[in-house]
């Protein structure tokens, strides 16, 4: 159940929200859709789910065009919109029944689907409560259950973990990963660890354009600039250090990042070195020679956060 987006463009009046983006999602893949707020994530998802028409370009779900065969596409997709809208005056069972009927689940199957979804999503305890009375975590589960009530092959989740507390985020994330095993999933987020935790692939979108596309690992290595070392020392003369260390070849700069009231004469530095070089040994020797007490020496890997920052702000 692959999704193919080709040259997708969307205007809101004069404003271009999505600008000529193309990407593919393979069957069974969990794609993380990443970008700052207002980057065009939600708009793209709304087009894929047939809520909004595209201004240009095509989207195909399993070879079906969202504009031409919208009905067939909508049958295959489970959608959790942004902010997870729900009917607060319905109880959980009523609501899921309603969603199942509208999704075209046969009456004879509704009961078993309902049972399965309340079990999988862990909402059995609250199934006779009004949705308006539920906590945010439970509501999110109800939203997910609604999206999957007809066992869709494609799941589109727009910020499924926004507004949840850290424990709930982990739960929902596990749920998505567990459910996403057999499905094609697109999930949008602006929380980076989420992508690293759940997604097989990442598309970073910025100002309506695709800024990067690849696995989290690929992106990390692709956008790795200079390597960085974190160094913590006990030394009496901090300034001497910023003078001495750069004498090592391959060190491009040293930055003193000591916090205001650190104990004693402890100093923290960030040492930028040329890509692919390792100066830890030399630093150690230098510390011995100068009689500095070394408290920490570690390499910092480029995180997805930095990649994201570089792509969306740095440029």
């Amino acid at each position: 159940m692959a999704i193919a987006v080709r040259n997708l463009t969307k205007f809101y009046g004069q404003e271009k929200a999505v600008d000529d983006i193309s990407f593919d999602v393979k069957t069974g893949e969990i794609l993380g859709f990443l970008g700052p707020n207002g980057a065009g994530k939600t708009t793209t998802m709304k087009i894929i789910t047939c809520y909004l028409p595209a201004s240009g370009g095509t989207v195909e779900v399993d070879g079906l065009s969202v504009s031409e065969q919208s009905f067939e596409v909508r049958r295959k997709i489970g959608y959790l919109p942004e902010m997870n809208p729900l009917y607060h005056d319905m109880n959980v069972v009523e609501y899921l029944e309603y969603a199942a009927q509208l999704q075209g689940v046969q009456d004879s199957h509704i009961r078993s689907r309902l049972k399965e979804m309340t079990e999988v999503c862990g909402i059995g305890d609250v199934r006779h409560k009004d949705i308006g009375e539920l906590s945010k975590g439970y509501r999110q589960r109800v939203g997910l259950a609604q999206a999957m009530i007809h066992d869709p092959e494609v799941l589109i989740l727009d910020e499924p973990t926004s507004g949840l507390d850290p424990n709930q985020i982990v739960e929902i994330r596990n749920l998505i990963r567990q459910l996403g095993r057999a499905k094609t999933v697109i999930l949008s987020t602006h929380i980076l660890p989420e992508v690293q935790a759940t997604c097989d692939r990442v598309v970073i979108i910025h100002e309506g354009r695709i800024a990067a596309d690849g696995t989290p690992q690929q992106l990390q290595s692709q956008f790795r600039g200079a390597d960085q070392l974190a160094l913590e020392l006990k030394a009496s003369v901090a300034n001497a250090l910023t003078d001495i260390v750069p004498k090592i070849k391959a060190v491009s700069s040293v930055e003193n990042v000591t916090y205001g009231t650190q104990e004693g004469e402890t100093h923290r530095f960030l040492v930028d070195v040329a890509r692919g070089t390792d100066v830890r040994e030399e630093l150690f020797r230098l510390a011995v020679q100068e009689r500095w007490v070394m408290l920490e020496l570690s390499r910092r890997a480029t995180s997805l956060e930095e990649v994201f920052h570089k792509l969306t702000v740095g440029s």
Binding site: K46, T49, C50, Y51, L52, P53, F71, E72, R74, R75, I77, Y79, P81, E82, M83, P85, L86, Y87, H88, D89, M90, E94, Y98, A99, Q101, L102, Q103, G104, Q146
Partner: protein
């Protein structure tokens, strides 16, 4: 969209209909409407009944159209405005169903509620029938006319509800549109003579009083059904405006 209007699935329409009707009865709306109806009509109806000393329901059929002006927009105001505001319209329109089914289901639910609210007024009929000889023609025509009129007002209110996400605004627009339909044949005095017949034809109360006299004329029925159909069509168009 023309195709979609023909291919409405009764199952989807029925699903929406049941959900909306249940939501009326789960909240206080349905009961408030029924009580308001009975109270207002009961009071004005019976207080003058003995003064007139005629066994007819004419008073009620004069009163209800005015009560409708306020009550029907209040029933319909939330139907689409609330979905737009809460964002649930996005859930609804990304399910495999036509906009026409959504509109039809909601229309029928509100219409049915009016029908349910009218049912207890049959009690007045029974009372009057006890008191004197009642002419059944105007009663049947009156009820039919009320139902048709309610249908038109519901379709107008639904259109108003599709135009905004604010329920109060939806109520006011719905009320004003219904009022315009109601006033057409009341302002004939101020209208140039060449236009009077058009204004009269557009007036909903003109057609209603024709039917309420007990004369069921297809021209009046056609008026009600065509206004109703046109309003529902506009509602479907308005609901689909995100696609423009």
């Amino acid at each position: 969209m023309d195709k979609s209007l023909i291919l409405l699935s009764t199952r989807n329409t029925a699903t929406i209909f049941k959900k909306e009707l249940r939501s009326y009865f789960n909240s206080a709306v349905a009961y408030v409407v029924i009580v308001v109806f009975l109270a207002i009509i009961g009071w004005f109806h019976t207080s003058n009944l003995f003064l007139m000393n005629v066994a007819s329901m004419r008073l009620m059929f004069e009163l209800v159209p005015i009560v409708f002006l306020f009550v029907v927009p209040a029933i319909t105001m939330r139907l689409l405005a609330e979905e737009t505001k809460a964002g649930t319209i996005e859930l609804l329109t990304t399910k495999p169903l036509h906009d026409g089914e959504i509109v039809a289901g909601k229309f029928l639910a509100a219409w049915a509620l009016i029908g349910v609210a009218l049912l207890p007024t049959l009690f007045y009929y029974i009372t009057i029938a006890f008191l004197g000889r009642i002419d059944n023609g105007p009663v049947i025509g009156g009820y039919l006319g009320l139902l048709l009129m309610a249908g038109v007002y519901v379709s107008v209110g639904l259109l108003a509800s599709s135009l905004t996400e604010n329920q109060i605004v939806a109520f006011i627009i719905g009320f004003l549109m219904a009022l315009v339909l109601f006033m057409f044949d009341k302002v004939l005095f101020y209208v140039p003579e060449s236009l009077t017949s058009i204004f009269e034809y557009l007036g909903i109360d003109y057609h209603f009083s024709n039917i309420a006299r007990g004369v069921i004329d297809t021209r009046d029925i056609v008026y009600f059904l065509s206004v109703l159909g046109f309003m529902l069509y506009l509602t479907v168009v308005s609901l689909g405006r995100r696609r423009w």
